[in-house]
């Protein structure tokens, strides 16, 4: 129609038509509503508070109760640092995986059930753009508040307790391991969101996999190499610059990344065939 001549037509790569508009919408849903500050407060408060408790309060209580571990580790400060980083990184792995599943399990379902997906896909949009926009927004928005902010607080607390800046490289290594662990559960949730039409199976499979991992991994050892289950146990050793089983770090890291890519590919393939 002639009146459209005055507009600049969307000129995106054919295979990713609609991506930037959908990404903008996803970011708007996160940053344009109260979601972001509620989550920022929740995760930072929970993980930072717990780390603060371990670093500053627990050592004094343990020393007062005559816990021999305090002296074995070289005093209250060293005990607090060990406790703080162990609890922070192990809890981060567990809590952030649960957080991702809870926050992301509805990403597809709510729009699918409300008819919004159908409406969006009636526009000139490639289906893979819809999936990738949700993933891209989740990869940027959620880790920023759920991983970066609490990690920053934990780093400050550990540095404050130690009296000198905590060694940056091992700490960043720990954050990287937590990020890959979280990515695995994020992409798993994304894939299940395209496969199932109700929350039950999504929550059941992801949380079952996360929580049942330690039991199953103990029974079938090879599973520890092809799942992220071992990462939460190895991460405090990496951050504490202690000896760790190399093969139980790098192999699960590589397989977790590989699984994440497979989950994204399956999600796109499934969504491509979904009928509305």
């Amino acid at each position: 129609m002639a009146a459209n001549m005055e507009f600049v037509r969307v000129n995106e790569l054919n295979g990713l038509r609609g991506f930037s508009n959908l990404l903008h919408k996803e970011n708007r849903a996160w940053w344009g509503t109260r979601q972001w500050w509620i989550n920022a407060l929740l995760w930072t408060g929970m993980l930072g508070g717990l780390t603060g408790l371990m670093v500053f309060v627990m050592p004094s209580l343990a020393a007062a109760s005559g816990d021999p571990e305090v002296a074995a580790m070289g005093g209250e400060i060293a005990f607090g640092m060990e406790l703080g980083r162990t609890v922070f990184f192990q809890m981060s792995c567990l809590a952030l995986a649960i957080g991702m599943v809870v926050l992301f399990q509805d990403a597809f379902l709510s729009e699918k059930h409300a008819g919004v997906t159908e409406w969006i896909l009636s526009k000139p949009v490639q289906r893979r753009s819809y999936v990738l926009a949700k993933l891209a927004a989740a990869l940027f928005d959620l880790p920023l508040l759920l991983i970066v902010l609490p990690s920053l607080i934990a780093y400050l607390l550990l540095s404050l307790r130690g009296g000198t800046p905590y060694p940056l490289l091992p700490f960043l290594g720990g954050v990287g391991i937590v990020s890959i662990h979280t990515l695995f559960y994020l992409t798993l949730t994304l894939m299940l969101g395209t496969i199932f039409n109700s929350r039950g199976p999504i929550l059941g499979i992801t949380l079952g996999f996360l929580l049942g991992g330690s039991v199953l991994g103990g029974l079938v050892k090879p599973l520890l190499y092809i799942t992220p289950w071992m990462l939460s146990k190895v991460v405090p050793m990496v951050v504490g610059e202690q000896p760790y089983p190399v093969d139980l770090l790098w192999v699960p890291l590589a397989t977790s990344l590989l699984w994440s890519m497979i989950f994204v590919i399956v999600a796109m393939a499934k969504f491509e065939k979904t009928e509305f």
Binding site: M1, A3, N4, E6, F7, V8, R9, V10, N11, N14, R17, G18, N21, H24, K25, R28, A29, G32, T33, A114, G115, V116, E118, W119, L121, S122, K123, P124, V125, Q126, K273, E275, F276
Partner: protein
Amino acid sequence: MTQTGDYVIETRDLSKSFGEVQALRRVDLKVPQHSIFGFLGPNGAGKTTLMKTLLGLSLPTSGSGRIFGYDIVNESVAIRERIGYLPQQPRFIEYMTARENLEFAAKFFFSGPQVKIRERCDEMLELVGLADKAERPTKGFSGGEKQRLGIALAQVNYPDLLILDEPASALDPLGRQSVLDVMARLRKHTTIFFSTHILDDVQRVSDTVAILNRGQLVASGPIEQILNGKDGVIYTLALKGRSDGLDKRFAELCWVTNTTVTQHNGTSIWQVSVSDESVAEATLLRHVLADQRVTVTEFSRKKYELEEVFMEIVKGDGDGR
């Protein structure tokens, strides 16, 4: 792309099954350019399935379809570039205002200039009478307001084809009227393909009609042709006096295909089916008046209401499932 002449939508043997249920059976549909095409059918007839298949939201089991000459399966994005769609229950991004929803929809088509996009959104809000509610979140909109905003959203790219699924069925009479008014205003610019089971709406705004029943296209054509009924053109004559000789007279006319006569309060009501409408219009009455024994008190061409035609076509088929 291959251009397919004067038809915007063209399907051939289009079928769609959901397991054992056959929702569409070999549908051959042709929607002419610049028409308001009323797509009728009882609940569950397959109207929404056909629309979703045309839009690429659902894949056909067999057969093919083209819109603007583009294949509905392989060139769906190019088709949706030129289409506006209103789902049966319009949905929006609830945390966005009416204007934000419109801007979001517009940005699937246009990347700028921002001023022009905003102007287009204002124009659409004006068109559907929602200018005063532009900054309200859509969460609190009434059914009628949602429907009108849905039409604005479907129209934001000035589409060459508007596909509206039951645009007025959930509305009160005033809401329905306002939606039909909007459709009438848009007919100058675009082809409108809309489904409904409200026959009155179709008769008021459509120029072309198709009837779908149990997934099968059972009638299709200009509304005048559909309203003629499947028995073709019939003239009704009310006669007083002795009309018994007319049978023989009609039998001599090769374009008269059938006659029936009933008596009503001393008046003979003749129904004369004809094969040549123009000859019948010019000469039928003269042939009758040539008989001095009869007086013609009424002469008209039999007109069906769409409801009669619809009921006749789908009768005996239950609810169409």
